[in-house]
Amino acid sequence: MEILFFLFSIVALAGAAGVVALRNPFYCVLSLVVHLIALALLFLLLEAQFVAVAQIVVYAGAVMVLYVFVVAYVGGGDKPAPLWRANAKQRALAIAFGVALFVELCVALLGTGLSSLDGDGAQLGAGYGSPGQIGELLLVRFLLPFELASFLLLVAAVGAVALAGRRPGIDDDDLPVAPRHGLVEFQRSAATGTMAEGVGGYGVTVPMPEPSEAVAAAHADGLPEQSVPAGEGTT
């Protein structure tokens, strides 16, 4: 048990140090994956099976895939910008702050009079940490936080789409404007990520016809096109 604890702790700490020290953001993400898996194993040692599995599935799986995609999209490795602060004094100050924080936390932890922290912990019931117990607690005793968490996830998902979605006005100001289509008269910039674009319908490769005067005026003023709801991409 002790050997496992120290093994997993060392791996987790090495992963954490790698996140801070590695220069390439992609390697940072991979280092964090190692850290998260080691941490999930530590959770297992603490008899928290459900949280450990959730950690691996949600964090090391979903969230890290999101990170990898964004790192691949943004790049970050292409320009040799210095990743460390140029100011060495600031950096030394930051590290000193980290050491002080650790010492303070240790004083708080080890100087506490809570004798139960020194032992092996309480006697555990049969289903401690099992999905059954977690589900019962979530749906009976902590129902309100559970619902709030789901609401928070919904808000975050909508917010992320609104922030990252392609929409006219936020980018590609120099791109030509797609022609108007049939009955639905709306204006949008050419590259808005529609399916028609994907199959080469219009946009990047095909030269655009001249935009109408109204659209050209709107673009000259730099106004966002108000008739298009954000994220609207259908024709």
Partner: protein, 99 residues
Amino acid sequence: MSVNWYLVVSALIFSIGAVGVLIRRNPLVVLLCLELMLNAGNLALLGFSRTWGDGDGQIFALIVLVVAACEVAIGLGIVVALYRKRLPIDVDELRELHG
């Protein structure tokens, strides 16, 4: 295995994450270091939960997991929006919100 050991490891990871937030300039890596700090908090919560022997701390850890996922989604959305506007991906140069 005393719970104190877990708490010390948690404190170490938290400190490493705090140092990373302070010294890194790429907002993506700053977000990763925030993850480190949240995970250290999770480890401490599970340690305390083990100490008392009831599941409340585990529920707390799960909620922290949810909040961290939301934070990542919003943070990465902001990074992508920055990239779209061709702003520098560097927290030192992004001192103002230009709208």
